[in-house]
Symmetry: C2
Subunit: 314 residues, 2 copies
């Protein structure tokens, strides 16, 4: 299984920490110290998780070396649905004008990227697809309460699209050597730590400490599982791209793995927590940085809880 | 792939058509003539798509012949999320207390049951799961506007859970001989005919006629595709269980297939449109009716649009 290309989209508006200082008194220093976040993007009023997803697909289409009509599976991933019936996947299919291919939209909160990759892997295993489009998109500001001093300042908007293929398309493709996902709804305060109940509005994080502890436990654990399964050691890993929830979580993951900060890929400083799109945007941003033979671990953790890790090799 | 057992849950409150006559003047006769719906169930204030899903799982657990700890994959399916971060799948994993198995929640609107089956089929093909739990649950009344004279009277609540296994567990298992799904977001008014935008509240169906036309086109078409793929003819089919959207759609599907009304399985008369749970509830209700060798087509169509068909053999 190969990752052929990634494209991403970020809304134009930049919201800096001073916005929150004015709104609810949180200082730039306080926010940066606790989260690493300096600024984030915010969708325009006419934008939503569908429009951003489509923009990410447009960015991807500019890069791919196959005809868009060779796409035979679409998996959308979002917890911030613009429409729960006409889903993100449908919106993308409509835009692409490719009829009669399987389309599904999923959510395992912030870990959905890897659930999507694993679902695609299943379609490849069945021979039911060969070129899958994964679209991750989060419109957190459509659901957040920005005056919430606990988590209002954490969220950002953005989207990314990935073309995953069963056979290598180009020399520059990355090999997806492994993906493992798991639910962890039995751990800690999984069912109440981060919630988004559309009928009650607002994504909130009443138990951030529990999220922190579990994220710092599961991401290194599943990363090691993937590394060891392939007979590698941690020192073989060139980059780690963890879910972008909090810079302190990411640094903690690196420390637990025994890897230096230089190997960490992070965009939370300027994007905030962009949900399941965070790591996908990171892959898109860093695409040209990866050199042949380099190995990258993408590891995720999401509310609910869920976790996963993927081993990529350039 | 085998369907080992199905369980379902329906909330207690029954809402008859007179409720709508009082509310907005729609008569029982008018509603029955256009939709076939005589009554539907409504979740209690403390219920939601999670609690109903868990109740359906409890009903399933009473029937299965494997230990619940042998479940190694959970796929939730709903478009009426109680929580989009702590998803239906997570709620079920939490209830079952089974750690570290893949958990994902999906939506392709009313067609999600078959998308879930196909995703499970993929996990089986990869060897990543052997006993999968699919949970379909819809809390339509949590999102509808009951005074809407166009679609307020259509919706009902309910849930069903299915145990799907890679190897036969019991003599009474049904063989899943085929499942095909497809997105149809390129057809008709797919992206606007039925929508549920959580930030705008309310599931609405501004283009019911377009839904009718496309449902009546796609369900027979994909059913025939499945039937012919297995060298069967329509006369080999003992029962057809179409998505429960409208009795007129179901009858039209039977007519197009050239099958008599007696072969139609329908619960919309007393449950209304229970979204992606409708067919699953139907399988649970009719479970003991099926005899060895009988063949059942389950065919779905959902907003967005999406479609699918599954061939079951007892």
């Amino acid at each position: 299984m190969y990752l052929h290309q990634v494209g991403h989209y970020l809304p134009q508006q930049v919201v800096d920490n001073e916005h929150f200082t004015k709104l609810n008194g949180l200082s730039d220093e306080w926010i940066v110290q606790r989260t690493g976040i300096q600024r984030r993007r915010k969708a325009a009023p006419a934008e939503n998780s569908h429009t951003m997803g489509v923009e990410a697909v447009k960015a991807l289409l500019d890069k791919i070396q196959i005809d868009k009509n060779d796409i035979d599976l679409i998996v959308g991933a979002t917890y911030t649905a613009y429409d729960a019936i006409v889903t993100l996947g449908h919106a993308v299919q409509h835009f692409l004008e490719i009829p009669d291919i399987p389309v599904v939209t999923i959510s395992s909160a912030c870990s959905s990227l890897l659930n999507a990759v694993e679902i695609v892997q299943g379609y490849f295993a069945m021979g039911k697809a060969r070129n899958a489009l994964i679209v991750t998109s989060e419109h957190n500001t459509g659901y957040y309460n920005e005056t919430d001093t606990v988590s209002g300042h954490l969220w950002g908007d953005g989207a990314a699209a990935l073309l995953v293929s069963n056979a290598r398309i180009a020399e520059t493709d990355m090999t997806i050597r492994e993906v493992i996902t798991g639910g962890a709804a039995t751990s800690g305060k999984a069912t109440e730590a981060v919630v988004l109940r559309p009928n009650e509005r607002g994504v909130i994080m009443p138990f951030g400490k529990d999220v922190f502890i579990n994220a710092c436990t599961y991401m290194p654990k599943v990363s090691l599982q993937v590394i060891e399964k392939h007979g590698l050691t941690v020192s073989d890993i060139d980059f780690v791209l963890p879910h972008q929830a909090n810079l302190r979580i990411s640094l903690n993951v690196m420390q637990t793995l025994g890897l230096p900060e230089e190997k960490l890929i992070s965009n939370i400083q300027y994007l905030g927590n962009t949900g399941c799109a965070g790591c996908a945007i990171g892959l898109s941003e860093q695409w040209n940085r990866f050199e042949t033979g380099q190995k990258i671990i993408v590891t995720v953790f999401g509310g609910g809880y869920s976790y996963g890790a993927m081993l990529l090799e350039k």
